[in-house]
């Protein structure tokens, strides 16, 4: 075997995984699972739903049906799929459940940046703390109203229209707040995609 897995980039691991190397999937899991599970838990109140959302995301990567390395990173793909699967599960539960459960995702706990986490690998602790510090600063530039709209969309999976109804605000105001808030966050990060 060539280089040891922990030194490989996510892209290399993905290539190995596609070549049938299960250890590459295992290593990708170790790198991303805590972040994905935390994300799923902030969308789903039920831990079992959160676990399924995470499993769906990793298995979708394993099947590699629609991941395109030219269009984004493994981490982005996993986060986008995990969030979307978690929201699907919350919606399915609401459809099956009673009306009072409908409130569950409407008051999301929102973003809360913990600068360090127990699961952070020691060698990446400083880098992760710095990254999370930047996210916290970026979120602090949002107005309370912008943040509320982004919370409802990101964690509650609500559409513009649903947010407008929930907050009893005009639709146009909600659209503007979401757009401007997300733009502020984008400006705060030197994203690799926006450079291209």
């Amino acid at each position: 075997m060539s280089e040891p897995l922990p030194d490989s980039s996510d892209g290399d691991l993905y290539a190995r995984m596609r070549a049938g190397d299960e250890r590459a999937l295992s290593e990708l899991y170790d790198r991303h699972a805590e972040r994905m599970y935390s994300l799923a838990r902030s969308v789903c109140s039920d831990p079992a739903d959160a676990e399924e959302a995470v499993a769906d995301a990793f298995l979708r990567l394993w099947r590699a049906g629609d991941f395109d390395p030219d269009r984004g990173t493994v981490g982005t793909f996993l986060a986008v799929v995990t969030r979307s699967r978690a929201l699907d599960r919350v919606r399915a539960r609401k459809r099956r459940g009673r009306a009072e459960e409908k409130g569950a995702a409407q008051d999301p706990q929102g973003f809360a940046v913990e600068i360090s986490a127990a699961g952070d690998p020691p060698e990446r602790r400083v880098e992760l703390a710095e990254k999370r510090g930047r996210i916290r600063e970026a979120l602090a530039t949002l107005s309370d109203k912008q943040q509320a709209v982004i919370d409802l969309a990101y964690f509650g999976g609500m559409t513009h229209r649903e947010i407008a109804e929930h907050l009893t605000e005009p639709l146009g105001t909600v659209k503007t707040r979401l757009r401007d808030g997300m733009q502020k966050l984008r400006d705060a990060f030197p994203l690799t995609r926006s450079a291209s």
Binding site: M17, R18, A19, G20, E22, L25, Y29, D30, A33, E34, R35, Y37, S38, S42, A50, E51, V54, A55, F58, L59, R60, W62, R63, A64, G65, D66, R71, G72, T76, A79, V80, T82, R83, S84, L87, A92, R95, A112, E114, G119, I135, L139, A153, Y154, M158, T159, H160, R161, T168, P170, L178, R179, M182, Q183, R186, F189, L191, T192, R193, S194
Partner: protein, 281 residues
């Protein structure tokens, strides 16, 4: 605002899933032919990924990893991964084949072998490509089915809600009160189904109560004090249609609406701005 600007303005909402179904379809149609818009969407996807670091941390259960690896193993290495996996093995095929061809002599099979190898390569790539396409289509269909199911469920829930409203309106023992202000708008009408102890409030031209305040509905019996029939809030367009349950066996002659602190008050703290007298419907 230019048209391009309008589309890029929607990119964040598209990635977050905040567009209405019609808006989303239009956006996706545009996306297929607009590389710049696609780059914008990719950038917002990356932001959604970055923000996943900004949530309270939870360690995943230890058993989750084993479960995922087991499922991956059970599915087998394959699905969309096949094209890359199968292609190199076919590409490796020609050398031994041409060796065999050499043994068979210069004519006949020898001239065919490269063609066969090429055909096999094309077929293998095609199969892989098809497998990937089928996978993508299966995923897309599953998602579409889920979304149609969701719409159907929503439609059923909405019909059930309307049926329940209609039943309240159409019962044999329905009383109604038209509430109006001294000057023209706002106005409200209350339907009270005494058999089911249900009331429906329909309000018009009533701006939403300010933050920290709500509207409260009262029933007043002759010579008695006002009894709360619940609170309600109006939408941005000044309308409300809400259903409330009233205590069974109560009887009122007058209906009224006041503005109260959020959560409502045990007794009105302000003069009613909408008042009316109950009549049988």
């Amino acid at each position: 605002m230019s048209t391009e600007q309008r589309w890029t303005d929607l990119a964040a909402a598209y990635v977050l899933g905040a567009l209405d179904p019609e808006e989303r379809s239009a956006f996706e149609a545009r996306l297929e032919q607009d590389a710049e818009l696609q780059a914008e969407v990719d950038a917002h996807r990356e932001l959604v990924g970055v923000l996943s670091d900004a949530v309270p941390r939870h360690a995943p259960p230890a058993a989750l990893k084993a479960r995922i690896l087991e499922r991956a193993r059970a599915e087998g290495h394959g699905g969309g991964a096949r094209p890359i996996e199968s292609a190199p093995s076919v590409r490796d095929a020609p050398p031994p084949a041409s060796g065999d061809a050499g043994a068979a002599g210069p004519g006949g099979a020898a001239r065919w072998t490269p063609w066969l190898a090429a055909a096999a390569l094309v077929a293998a790539l095609g199969t892989g490509y098809l497998a990937q396409r089928v996978d993508q289509q299966r995923d897309a269909l599953a998602e579409r089915l889920e979304s149609v199911q969701a719409q159907l469920d929503d439609a059923r829930a909405s019909v059930a809600e309307r049926d329940s409203l209609l039943a309240t309106f159409l019962g044999p023992d329905v009383r109604t009160v038209a509430l109006s202000a001294t000057d023209q708008p706002p106005s409200a009408r209350i339907f009270w189904n005494t058999a089911t102890s249900t009331i429906i409030v329909a309000a018009f031209d009533l701006p939403p109560a300010p933050e920290g305040r709500t509207y409260q509905l009262w029933g007043i019996a002759e010579g008695g004090s006002p009894v709360s029939l619940g609170t309600f809030q109006t939408a941005a367009d000044g309308t409300a249609l809400v259903q409330r349950t009233v205590p069974a066996g109560t009887d009122f002659q007058i209906g009224a609406v006041t503005e109260e602190p959020t959560g409502g008050s045990p007794q009105p703290t302000s003069a009613p701005f909408l008042v009316g007298t109950w009549t049988d419907a």
